[in-house]
């Protein structure tokens, strides 16, 4: 599905990613954890194609193709989805209108017939149930005036509509109360089908109680410094990140 090989990226001459290696196979859920400023969100943004970052080393293979060569829209059309940490408010563009455009652009790129209005609405109704999202949010401008929880729920709803191969959730849990968190997690779990893969970027272990990962990686100073299974997340929750930081620094000083 995804093969990240020695990925390095910087922003405004500041090196953030310093050689990331990661392989995600179909159906797998990978959690990426780490202290603030370790490069978690940068990794998510670089994978989605944000132009603010300069990739200055390494390569990424996505479904057999060179991901970094593609524009953001090509990545999405190929099946990559990023749930934003901070979903952007876009006044004047209705949630429904936007989704219809996005869904049909993606369908077109995949050589499928665009949805007509009726099919689209049916599809939407179905997917709305998955994230338990309110109908009233559909007619409103995209994310404008949405609460934090509504925004995150809307991201998962978009994901359900766009049916990606690989979804990256960038701190989707931050700022969510437990009920909203469960809704988001249920949405993700409903989309787990053994084929679709997920990268869940999070600062806290809590989300992983609900979205159980196959692998957990710790990102620190732009590198994956530790990988393990879901038990690693529990250990991090209990002991914090300091012991890993210490381990890394000891290794470095040797």
């Amino acid at each position: 599905m995804l093969k990240i090989n020695n990925l390095q990226a910087s922003i405004e001459d500041k090196q953030i990613l310093k050689g990331i290696n990661l392989e995600v196979k179909p159906g797998e859920v990978h959690a990426i954890m780490g202290p603030n400023g370790s490069g978690k969100s940068t990794l998510a943004s670089v994978l989605a194609g944000k132009e603010d970052y300069e990739v200055n080393g390494g390569d990424v293979e996505f479904l057999g193709e060179e991901l970094l060569e593609m524009s953001p829209e090509e990545r999405a059309q190929k099946g990559l989805f990023l749930a934003f940490q901070y979903p952007v408010e876009i006044p004047g563009v209705s949630n429904t209108n936007f989704l219809k455009t996005a869904v049909n652009e993606i369908r077109k790129a995949r050589g499928e017939e665009p949805f007509d209005a009726v099919t689209f609405l049916k599809e939407m109704k179905e997917k709305m149930k998955i994230v338990n999202i309110d109908q009233s949010l559909m007619g409103r401008a995209l994310n404008e005036g949405f609460s934090g929880g509504e925004k995150k729920r809307n991201e998962i709803f978009h994901m359900a509509m766009l049916q990606p191969q690989l979804a990256i959730l960038d701190e989707t849990d931050s700022g969510l109360d437990i009920d909203a968190l469960k809704v988001v997690a249920n949405g993700v779990n409903a989309l787990r089908d053994g084929e679709r893969s997920f990268i869940v970027v999070t600062h806290y272990q809590r989300l992983l109680d609900y979205i159980v990962p196959d692998f957990v990686h710790v990102l620190y100073k732009g590198k994956i410094v530790k990988s393990g299974t879901k038990e690693l997340a529990l250990e991090l929750e209990e002991k914090g990140y300091d012991w890993i930081i210490k381990e890394v620094e000891e290794k470095e000083s040797k």
Partner: protein
């Protein structure tokens, strides 16, 4: 350089053209006398140069250096007219400044009077005499003075007390430039009496590409107490179409007047909108300009809060691409004693190219102390965050840009209340922005 361009071809031609309309001038009565004094005033002044504070960003030198034909025939047919699909309206067509009954379509008007101005001068002399030239100033204003002196034709509307007119009036100014540079000077007078309601839509259309079309328009609108007027102007003309348009509005107490100007293309355009407010008035000024190529649009608006307790709301938005230039100058006057005034103004611009340019200037003069006024203007590129968000969801760059620009225009479009007109405007804007409306 002085503040004026002296010895302009347009001035000389206009003055010699006076002979041709001597008959109208020498007539008895108030109108002829107003036109004589406008002609006199015009002969004493010159057109403003860019040294003139009000014309700093709009250079009319080329415009006034041409030898225009006044009037002139046209072979335009009804099929060629730029009409609005599905719009139920009284249609008045003017070609090269002349009213064309054969191309117009005035329906059953009931108690309302719709007439070309030349007829109204004779048939509704009293109303015309009372309002003609009462609101559009000619002193020190060469373009309105020129119009007033030569105004031969235009729309005359009289809506009597308590008549709510549901069918709008659509005025189309056609300039046929196939044979020569041509000037057209529509002169409209809209008088809406107490508690009445009326909607006025203006559009222009240029035929022929080689020569210049120059529309020097003046509209005077009188809104009596408790009356409501919606006024729309569409500017989606050819690049050889120049326009100086002056709209002067007198709002009586408790009246409502909404003005919306949509500019999508043209050569050089200057819009002057001057509004005087009574007490407890409601006023909206909306503008949208979406430009490319070398189109230049200058919107000068002035709202004068003369009395207390009135609201004015101004929203002008621009998207400038290519080498286009936009100017916004918004004046708000709050006179001494005009307490409890609410006056809001906003001008937002998106520059889509490095060569596009925009100058925006709010000008507030407030002489009362218990008022609520605000203004804000922005000029900048399209935000990158929303662009990335849309693209990351699979929407191509071009489509994402079109979507965002169309959305940017949305809150001005929302102000258009006539459904057929709104879809017409949506279509021309969508076409310009390559936005797929479906």
């Amino acid at each position: 350089m002085s503040k004026f361009y002296v010895d302009a071809a347009l001035k000389n031609d206009a003055l010699s053209h006076l002979e041709n309309i001597a008959e109208a001038f020498e007539a008895e009565g108030e109108i002829a006398s107003k036109r004589r004094s406008a002609a006199e005033a015009f002969s004493e002044m010159d057109f403003p140069s860019i040294k003139h504070e009000e014309w700093k960003y709009t250079n009319v030198k080329k415009l006034i250096s041409k030898n225009y034909q006044f009037g002139g025939n046209s072979a335009i047919t009804a099929e060629q007219l730029e009409l609005i699909k599905d719009l139920e309206a009284h249609v008045l067509v003017f070609v090269n400044g002349q009213y064309r009954a054969d191309l117009s379509n005035i329906k059953e008007t009931g108690k309302m009077v719709i007439a070309p101005l030349s007829e109204a001068v004779k048939s509704h002399t009293e109303v015309v005499e009372k309002h003609f030239g009462a609101y559009a100033k000619v002193e020190e204003e060469s373009f309105p003075a020129l119009n007033t002196a030569f105004a031969e034709e235009g729309v005359f509307i009289h809506v009597p007390k308590s008549v709510a007119v549901e069918t709008p009036v659509y005025a189309l100014y056609v300039v046929d430039t196939n044979t020569a540079d041509t000037i057209s000077q529509p002169r409209n007078l809209v008088v809406v009496e107490e508690n009445a309601q009326f909607t006025f839509i203006e559009n222009s259309q240029t035929i022929g590409e080689e020569h210049t079309a120059f529309i020097n328009a003046v509209s005077e609108v009188f809104v009596a107490p408790n009356a409501i007027v919606d006024h729309y102007k569409i500017q989606n003309d050819e690049t050889n179409a120049m326009q100086v348009s002056t709209t002067a509005v007198e709002q009586s107490d408790r009246s409502v007047y909404n003005n919306t100007v949509i500019t999508v293309s043209g050569g050089l355009i200057r819009n002057n909108l001057n509004i005087a407010l009574g007490e407890h008035c409601e006023n909206h000024m909306n503008g949208l300009y979406i430009l490319n190529g070398k189109t230049h649009v200058d919107n000068h608006t002035a709202v004068d809060h003369k009395k207390p307790n009135s609201n004015s709301n101004e929203l002008y938005k621009g998207i400038l691409d290519g080498q286009s230039t936009g100017v916004f100058n918004g004046k708000i006057f709050v006179r001494e004693g005009a307490q409890k005034t609410n006056a809001f103004q906003s001008n937002k611009n998106i520059l889509m190219s490095d060569q596009a340019n925009c100058d925006t200037k709010p000008q507030l003069e407030i002489w009362a102390d218990d008022v609520s006024c605000s203004h804000g203007c922005t000029v900048g590129a399209l935000d990158e965050e929303p662009m990335f968000y849309l693209r990351a969801r699979g929407i191509s760059e071009d489509k994402a840009r079109a979507l965002l620009m169309f959305a940017f225009a949305g809150d001005v479009l929302e102000k258009v209340k006539v459904p057929a007109l709104k879809s017409y405007i949506e279509r021309i804007i969508a076409k310009r922005l390559n936005y797929d409306l479906d």
